[in-house]
């Protein structure tokens, strides 16, 4: 039986960790040096079916209501409690810094989409015709960058950290994640709504609050 890692938490009372993980297994805590790894027993490799991914997510969400947490990438297995303790010990400073960075904050996702392909934007179904294709790609890239700037600049001002991905994609040109102080969440959401109303040629969807998956490695703006 292996141990599946859900998150690393700053938890003063590891005994208070409760919850249910994959396969109905109880969550338990492995503590070392002031850090707590939240794990459950798991036989074999976890299958990343949608239901399992939601179970995993819903096991982590209650934790972040009580402690700073660093969610683990799905499928992170350890052979034993000793191996988990070694991971906490050997990378203690990295985890401690990252936990400090996410304390009191949540992750919010923002995705911008063009509801219809841009003018001349059927490029994905057009044959590659050299210059015309490249010009279309360039125009798509320019539009995506301009859209990202309109979204990312105002939202970054309300966030502690951000990760914004811009791509010359005909449908979803901007995908961003923001680390937002809990007390600023409503301000952030109101700003997203304003932007959604003001930007005529794109739709915005905001999801969350998520555990800080995009900031778990201590990434800063």
């Amino acid at each position: 039986m292996s141990l599946l890692l859900y998150a690393i938490a700053e938890c003063r009372d590891p005994g208070s960790i409760t919850g249910v993980g994959l396969g109905g297994q109880a969550l338990s805590a492995v503590a070392e040096g002031g850090l707590t790894a939240v794990v459950s027993e798991h036989a074999g490799r976890p299958a990343a079916a949608v239901e399992a991914l939601w179970t995993y997510e819903l096991a982590i969400e209650p934790l972040m209501d009580h402690y700073p947490v660093l969610p683990a990438r799905f499928g992170t297995l350890f052979e034993s409690q000793q191996a988990v303790r070694a991971m906490l010990r050997e990378r203690h400073d990295q985890w401690a810094r990252a936990l400090e960075g996410v304390r009191g904050a949540v992750e919010l996702g923002v995705r911008a989409s063009w509801p219809v392909a841009p003018a001349n934007g059927s490029y994905s179904s057009r044959p590659n015709r050299g210059t015309a294709y490249m010009l279309e790609r360039l125009e798509l890239s320019r539009r995506a960058s301009a859209l990202a700037a309109r979204i990312d600049e105002p939202l970054s001002k309300l966030a502690r950290a951000r990760a914004c991905k811009v791509q010359a994609h005909p449908a979803v040109p901007v995908t961003a994640a923001y680390l937002v102080d809990r007390e600023r969440m409503n301000d952030f959401l109101a700003r997203v709504r304003e932007l959604d109303g003001a930007i005529e040629d794109a739709q915005l969807v905001c999801t969350g609050p998520w555990p800080p998956y995009s900031f778990a490695q201590g990434r800063q703006p």
Partner: protein, 62 residues
């Protein structure tokens, strides 16, 4: 997770699922050598294949 519905509900649900996949398979703490996910185990039903496959590729290579 509460999806903030700024567009059609169906579209918001779809985006929430894509966001979930992106985060669990592409984000989070990475402990090198411990990721044992394989693409063959992923349930791709009802998902945007292009986006999901990109995330799986990253996880499998992680």
């Amino acid at each position: 997770v509460v999806s903030v519905d700024l567009v059609m509900a169906g579209r918001a649900r779809e985006v929430t699922l894509i966001d979930l996949l992106d985060r669990l398979l592409h984000g989070g703490v990475v402990i090198h050598g411990d990721i044992t996910l394989s693409a063959a185990e992923i349930d791709l039903v009802q998902l945007d294949l292009r986006i999901v496959v990109a995330a799986i590729d990253t996880a499998a290579g992680g």
